[in-house]
C-alpha cells in the first residue's frame, strides 16, 4: 500500500473515480465507480452493479439454495452505516 | 459517595487478572486484562474465545486482542464459563 495511507479513510480517498467493491449488510454487494464519500462512509457510486444473495430452502429436498440476483443502477447513494467493507480495485504494478 | 466503587474502577481493579467477557449475542471471551479505555475497549492477552455454533460451543485461543467495547454486555472478574 502506498505511503500516503496514514489513516484508513485515505484508502477510500485514493479510490475516488475508481471502481470499488463494497460489501454491505444484508448480503448485499456493490461494484461501482466511487464519485464521493464522507467520513461516515456515505458514498455516491456510479454505474453500479448490485448483487443480493439470499439463501432459500428447497421445500422438496430440504436443501439450501443460494440465490443471487443482480441489477444495475446508474447512480446511487449508500448510507455509511450499512457498509461492512470497501475494497479498491487491485492495483497491479 | 465515599466508599462507593464506580463501575470503571472495578474494571481498573481487574487489570492483570483473568476476566470473563460476555458479549451481546452468542460470544464469550476469557482473557487477562492488560488495559482498557473509556469505552471499555480492552486489550486482552491469552484469550479463549467461545462461540456458539450449530455443533455446540467451540473454543479458540488467541494471543493478544483489542476487543471493541461496543458489544460488551457483561464483565465477570476472576471467573470463566468453565468454572460452572
Amino acid at each position: 500500500m502506498s505511503s500516503s495511507v496514514d489513516e484508513p479513510l485515505d484508502l477510500i480517498r485514493l479510490s475516488l473515480e475508481e471502481r470499488i467493491y463494497v460489501k454491505c449488510r444484508g448480503e448485499r454487494e456493490l461494484r461501482g465507480k466511487l464519485h464521493a464519500f464522507d467520513r461516515h462512509l456515505n458514498m455516491i457510486l456510479g454505474e453500479v452493479e448490485e448483487t443480493v444473495t439470499t439463501p432459500e430452502i428447497d421445500e422438496e429436498t430440504d436443501e439450501e439454495i443460494i440465490r443471487t440476483s443482480r441489477r444495475t443502477v446508474e447512480m446511487l447513494f449508500v448510507r455509511g452505516d450499512v457498509v461492512i467493507l470497501v475494497s479498491p480495485p487491485l492495483r497491479t504494478a | 459517595m465515599a466508599g462507593r466503587l464506580l463501575p470503571l474502577e472495578l474494571v481498573d481493579k481487574c487489570i492483570g487478572s483473568r476476566l470473563w467477557v460476555i458479549m451481546k449475542g452468542d460470544q464469550e471471551l476469557v482473557g487477562t486484562l492488560k488495559s482498557f479505555d473509556d469505552y471499555v475497549n480492552m486489550v486482552l492477552e491469552d484469550v479463549t474465545e467461545y462461540e456458539v455454533t450449530p455443533e455446540g460451543k467451540v473454543a479458540h485461543k488467541l494471543d493478544h486482542i483489542l476487543l471493541n467495547g461496543n458489544n460488551i454486555a457483561i464483565l465477570v472478574p476472576g471467573r470463566s464459563p468453565d468454572d460452572g
Partner: protein
C-alpha cells in the same frame, strides 16, 4: 448496536468521564496502553473478527479511533472457509468485534 458511536478514544465524547470521574482520572495511562497496543501491531499479520463472525486475515496497514481498519493482502474466512481475497481493504469500525495479533516470539 449503535452505528454512530465511535469505538475509539475518549477525546470524542466526555460522557463516560463525567459519570465516572474517579475512574477517568486513573485513565490516561490506560488509554495510552490501548494506543500502544495498536502501535505494536501495525504492519503485522492480524485477524480481525466482525460481529457477524466473519474473519479477515491480513497485514494491518492502519486504523483510527473508530476502529476503522485498512488491511493489505486480506483473506476473508466465513466459518473457517476462505471465501475471498482483497489486495487492500477498508473495514468500517462499527462491525469489528476484535483485532487479534500473534505475540512476537
Amino acid at each position: 448496536m449503535s452505528d454512530t458511536s465511535p469505538a475509539g478514544t475518549p477525546a470524542a465524547t466526555p460522557a463516560q468521564g463525567t459519570s465516572a470521574p474517579a475512574a477517568a482520572e486513573a485513565k490516561p495511562a490506560q488509554n495510552k496502553k490501548v494506543t500502544e497496543f495498536l502501535k505494536t501491531i501495525l504492519g503485522r499479520p492480524v485477524v480481525v473478527k466482525l460481529n457477524s463472525g466473519v474473519d479477515y486475515r491480513g497485514v494491518l496497514a492502519c486504523l483510527d479511533s473508530f476502529m476503522n481498519i485498512a488491511m493489505e493482502q486480506t483473506e476473508e474466512y466465513v466459518q473457517g472457509q476462505l471465501k475471498a481475497k482483497y489486495g487492500d481493504c477498508f473495514i468500517r469500525g462499527n462491525n469489528v468485534l476484535y483485532i487479534s495479533a500473534q505475540k512476537r516470539r
